[in-house]
């Protein structure tokens, strides 16, 4: 669906050149919700703008549905943009137009006749849940409602791809969740491919199928969201994962836990997918003569299943504990004994 090949963008800052996107190769499938996460300055904003030709690459190519976006310009590019629409962090609505007229805008650009426009706008207003607010002006709407208008506007010309530029970063947590649910709903109902950039792992966890982690213009880690959560490889990815799982296994926390639970061993278990729904602990206690005390636990749901961590205090002989751990590993639960130092 979307193929990025050796995509690079170098900005000339006057004082020198700045590489915003550095040889990125990505392949995004049709109907996928693909997340790109990175801190500000990682190049994700530039990357997403390369996808609809708002920025021209210095090198490499973007191919969407067989069409090379980087090679076309003028009218062809404008036509292509109607199929690759975009929503924004600050909504970017026209304040001089009502909700209805804002949603109508891309249809006017596409040259849709007035009679068809009205019917389509009505449909979209209903789809994003803004019925009754058609004649309000953006200044009369809340942030979440403004983003709904943005989404309706982006969907007006029945695009194949929706690009989300930090679409929830200006919203409060509750509104963020409702907008994310709307995006998942649209993805399922319309089979739309969604590419989103964000700095919040929460957003990735909640709706993405796959994720790419960007740092310094490069994609440093790429994979299924669940796999990335389970075994993040890069330091930066671990930090992002910690944002949501919050197991806080920093040295400081381990020391504190050790102080609180001085006897036995502290063991961290990581469950992924189906295992989170199995009664593994019950089995463990029944089969092995160890005492188990739950110290801390956490579970996070992603689009591809759940991911959980559990810290246990295990009491028993070294032999018994070792056997219990072997059992857990056999059930493919990752274990890690938290050392004393």
């Amino acid at each position: 669906m979307i193929e990025l090949k050796k995509l690079s963008k170098v900005f000339d800052t006057g004082k020198g050149s700045l590489t915003a996107v550095d040889h990125v190769d990505l392949s995004i499938g049709a109907g996928e919700i693909f997340g790109i996460i990175g801190y500000s300055g990682a190049g994700k904003s530039t990357l997403i703008r390369l996808l609809n030709g708002l920025e021209k690459p210095s090198d490499g190519s973007v191919v969407i549905n067989g069409q090379n976006i980087t090679a076309i310009k003028g009218n062809d590019l404008r036509k292509a943009r109607q199929k690759v629409s975009m929503i924004f962090q600050h909504f970017n609505l026209l304040w001089s137009r009502t909700v209805k007229e804002n949603i109508e805008f891309p249809l006017e650009i596409a040259g849709v006749p007035k009679s068809k426009r009205d019917a389509r706008v009505l449909e979209l207003v209903e789809l994003v849940g803004l019925k009754g607010r058609e004649n309000a002006y953006p200044s009369q709407l809340s942030g979440g409602q403004k983003q709904r208008v943005g989404i309706a506007r982006a969907l007006a010309n029945e695009p194949e791809v929706l690009l989300c530029d930090e679409a929830t970063s200006a919203l409060d947590p509750q509104t963020t969740d409702s907008i994310l649910e709307l995006l998942v709903d649209i993805n399922k109902r319309l089979g739309l491919t969604i590419v989103l950039i964000t700095h919040e792992m929460h957003v990735i966890r909640k709706i993405c199928h796959r994720v790419a982690v960007m740092e310094g213009g490069r994609v440093v880690e790429l994979g299924d969201v669940l796999n990335v959560f389970q075994s993040p490889k890069e330091e930066i990815t671990k930090r992002f994962v910690a944002q949501v799982t919050d197991t806080e296994d920093s040295q400081e926390t381990i020391k504190n836990l050790r102080k609180l639970y001085p006897t036995g061993e502290l063991v961290k278990l990581v469950f992924v997918g189906d295992q989170t729904e199995q009664p593994i602990l019950t089995q463990l206690i029944r089969k092995y003569p160890v005492d188990v005390n739950i110290v801390q636990g956490n579970i996070a749901h992603t689009q591809r299943g759940a991911y959980g961590t559990l810290i246990l205090q295990m009491k028993g002989s070294a032999q018994e504990i070792s056997e219990a751990l072997t059992y857990l590993n056999a059930e493919s639960v990752q274990t890690e004994v938290m050392s004393n130092d």
Partner: protein, 222 residues
């Protein structure tokens, strides 16, 4: 009562002068609006990183605007005498005042247009581009509607300045109430004529302000 307060006022003359002033103001405001708008849009779009980014055109337009904006109006009228003679065929009467009025005011308004356009959120323009809008569509459906209140208040200030300019034009014989106040009033020491002409100018200015305020109020939705 009025006769005794304004013994020297020739009402027919006064009425004719008022019409001349209104004519000059209306015509010059209209052309200033059109030319200023075009200049302002060109200045905006040719600036670096904008849709028509072009440093040469931007510099030339900027230079034109700055030069004509900084020449005092009374000097501009005199400098433009040959041009006016060529264009209108005479340097007397209301029409002869128009070239100087427009050339004096359009650059001034162009700057206000530029300020108004710069106020528009860049993201809105980017959104329109992401929908596949042409630059012409962006001008017509984004830039102009989004900056309408600022464009309107800008043209009010300009129109009121133009009422003042027409009076200056009157001094060199353009007609209108400037001529009346200066030649019939001041130079013949008829203070009542000068006073009446001034009062009517105030009325015109107020009328312009009221009309445009009302229009701006209707278009402000932010």
């Amino acid at each position: 009562m009025i006769e005794s307060l304004f013994p020297n006022v020739d009402w027919e003359n006064m009425w004719e002068a008022t019409l001349e002033t209104l004519y000059m103001t209306a015509m010059s405001t209209f052309f200033t609006f059109v030319i200023g708008l075009v200049l302002g849009i060109v200045l905006f779009l040719t600036a670096p990183k904008q849709l028509w980014a072009n440093s040469i055109v931007n510099w030339l337009t900027g230079a034109f605007v700055n030069i004509f904006r900084s020449i005092p109006f009374i000097i501009l009228i005199i400098l433009l005498i040959p041009f006016t003679k060529f264009l209108i065929g005479t340097i007397r009467g209301p029409n002869a005042a128009l070239p100087a009025l427009i050339i004096g005011a359009a650059p001034f308004y162009a700057r206000m247009v530029l300020i108004a356009l710069k106020e528009i959120d860049k993201g809105v323009i980017e959104a329109a581009r992401s929908m596949g809008a042409t630059t012409w569509t962006i001008i017509r459906k984004v830039l102009l509607p989004e900056s309408k209140p600022a464009l309107l208040s800008g043209i009010t200030v300009t129109a009121i300045a133009l009422v003042g300019y027409t009076a200056m034009g009157g001094v060199i014989g353009a007609g209108g109430r400037g001529t009346l106040a200066f030649l019939d009033g001041f130079q013949r020491s008829r203070d009542d004529v000068t006073g009446m002409a001034t009062m009517l100018v105030v009325v015109i200015v107020y009328a312009i302000q009221l009309i445009v305020d009302w229009m701006a109020m209707r278009s402000a939705k932010r």
